[in-house]
Symmetry: D2
Subunit: 259 residues, 4 copies
């Protein structure tokens, strides 16, 4: 084979398998999404269309990559959870990272128009990704708590910041006003100055989105007798619960079970 004298170059590809029996988390992050959100006129502090599109992409990734059992997203990032026992792509880090991120990115463009209508996509979005091992359930939960706490902190800040700005304050002044404030101070500003009870804000903004496979009734037409057939399927579905506390995990015992 004419090719054989060059094939030695294969040996420069070094193994990058992840430690067995650990949770794998693939986290993707939008690159330059501050500019991207401005170019595409995202609403502030949250653009519901953008969030719904992110969730749609995560759902499409989970429909394709069956090993993913849960995904958590907020802002321009998403984390995909692969169980300890999975042997997806022999647990090769770059193979897993790149498959997830390229599926996410191509779905983002593919479904853009369904969420943004006339608002044309001006340039191709870009995400980075990494795959990280977490050795046990507690640490995995702490990872997810870290991301949801981050969502909470940022969303409370952004909600207050944009309320101030929309009321006429400059961005600089709003920043100064919020510097050094605690959580309760921001709640107070929102309530007294803008009559907003932060806890009544839509959970999709406060809690981010968690995709799990929910039992869902699916109706199909039987090809035999053209009757409607109802079946229960597991469909990746976004929910907006607190995942820091114990209740979520008690309600969904299969997620951490039998690992």
């Amino acid at each position: 084979m004419a090719n054989s004298k060059y094939e030695y170059v294969r040996h420069f590809e070094l193994a990058d398998n992840m430690l067995p029996n650990t949770w794998l988390v693939v986290r993707i992050d939008g690159r330059g999404f501050h500019r991207f959100s401005q170019s595409h006129d995202f609403a502030k502090p949250n653009d519901r269309r953008a969030i719904d599109l992110m969730n749609r992409c995560a759902i499409e990734v989970m429909k394709d990559v069956k090993d993913i059992v849960l995904a958590y997203g907020q802002s321009d990032e998403y984390s995909f959870i692969i169980p300890k026992t999975s042997n997806l792509y022999s647990r090769r880090s770059s193979k897993i990272s790149s498959t997830v991120v390229s599926l996410f990115a191509s779905n983002y463009v593919m479904h853009w128009a369904e969420y943004f209508d006339e608002n044309k996509l001006k340039y191709a979005p870009c995400f980075d990704s990494r795959t990280v091992c977490y050795p046990n359930d507690k640490i995995l939960r702490d990872y997810l708590s870290w991301r949801q706490a981050d969502c909470h902190i940022n969303n409370l800040y952004n909600t207050t910041f944009w309320a101030l700005v929309k009321s006429g304050m400059t961005e600089k002044k709003a920043e100064d006003r919020l510097r050094g404030t605690f959580s309760k101070d921001k709640h107070e500003i929102l309530f007294t100055e803008f009559n907003i009870n932060y806890n009544n804000i839509d959970p999709i903004f406060r809690k981010g989105s968690t995709i799990i496979r929910q039992k869902t009734e699916v109706i199909s037409i039987s090809p035999r007798d053209f009757q409607e057939v109802k079946r229960i399927k597991l469909i990746p579905t976004a929910i907006h619960d607190d995942i820091i506390g114990q209740e979520f995990w008690d309600t969904h015992p299969d997620l951490l079970d039998n690992q």
Copy 2:
């Protein structure tokens, strides 16, 4: 900060920096592109639209990621070459791999309609990627020769195979006919049975595509006096040369120079 008790999970992200002063090659590969090409009625043995779209994506990647000095593509794969001296993303493997592959994938969807017109995209394409170090110019050239020789071998086979099939042979029979044949046998079949001189086939199919930054005359309208202004810019451009021999590298001395 409420988040701080969870932040320890950051320490599970281990460093994945690539060895300094080596060439970095990011190779992306279509996942399941046999099915993808059938679902989307790609012409056989080559679909010019599909190749042009791949090249377009590679060009868009190079416009965005300035550190890439050359890209080589064939079939459903593309290799992006980053110089030894580059410190792109501190040479972190997953950051580089994921940025390139997600840009490629999102551009693939974004520009699909420009190349495939009425032929709608049925589902989101997926690519994997990896980043590999090559320690010197000779080995980098051997890597590129490996990919171009692979292009040659596959294209000669596919050209002959599809000529046989289009002439009425079953795919099974065509496979049997070609089993164990040498390069010259396939040239002979093409010439005597189909009157095809393989060497006259479009180089884009025989040689694949190499993207380099070519000096290109760009005409713009001056905002001052509305006159046309000609400037020379370096624009990523696809060419279809032999990159195994010495001539290409002599013609483009900057590619390997001063590393």
Copy 3:
């Protein structure tokens, strides 16, 4: 500083930190110990002096590297267990591996004469080492069970093999005799032909050696009044228990506890 123009070479040393919150096992293995044992006339199937020396070295390593909580050894190998919570040398793999193996090797030579008397060391012994992560207690125990089961299998074979050879059989014949035999067959040969009840053989040979820190009464002379003072210290001590079953771990609950 005259040195600064060369200091960039430091950047070629890439990080090799092990995943946090996992058990670390440093396993060292004698290199070429078949030849070494022959050159130094080790008794067959087991040389008590060689085993005692290996155990001594492991004890010296544990006296020096306080993070090691347990070591298990058999034949020419030793495994050192470092807890999940340890941050020894920032969990750098090569630093941990090399420190343990060089301490072991230098102690081996240093204490040789105490165990082998007139039997001079003919050449310097060599060991290799590696550090491996195990993500939880069960897998760590399975690792240790793997090594102790290996000890059992090899020792039963070797005991039977050398009984046959010492009774006058050639080594070739003894190998043929044992090929395909099960554990109970070897027990039977030992019992009926050599009147050896395998289970009565010294546990140091059947079970290998486990070093743990045992509470030990230490008597010292007070520098104040020259009276004897008894204190309880934790001293690394070799025992020869079964570590596959649950009993050992119940007896020493601190080993796996509070990780």
Copy 4:
């Protein structure tokens, strides 16, 4: 096999092969050698016995590990150079690092008495090691220059420091005196105050030690006719040349050649 249910633990040992076609450098460093040198009454600023012992160990390592083409040592460290083309232990990092460091450490103890006579070894020495890739000859030479420049800087400092201390200055005062001085200042102090021309100090102290395989005439007694037979063998030998400049490499062209 009773062992098979535990054998899965093997899969936690991840590959650690070094990039092909790069120079491998194994650097070992004494751990806690400040205390070690004090416990064993090393002469200051340099103890010739200690240096000779280090060199002996490096020579023994090179006699055993044939792939090493050069070693450079100074103070309590040694670097071993393995060529780009070597496939030693399949280029597994931990295997290479641990073999070299354990051989070095065991030889250190084994040959101690030959160099330190009545001065007994009080405790086992310890070295760490790491294996680093260097992608080309220039960078390898810069690495070695880095180590030799380090030798020079430290030795000039130490020589001046101990001259001051031996002349009656306290260590604190000597430190203060030397703080912020340049190389020429230290030369000046040595010359004017102690009548020492630094350049006349034994090169083994100023340049460190480089071990290369030198053609050496070896005389043996023929077992046939009991005549003396002279043969030329390649024997690892310590020299004390400058290895920063070009001359050394011109004199020994095989070291970097044909890689």
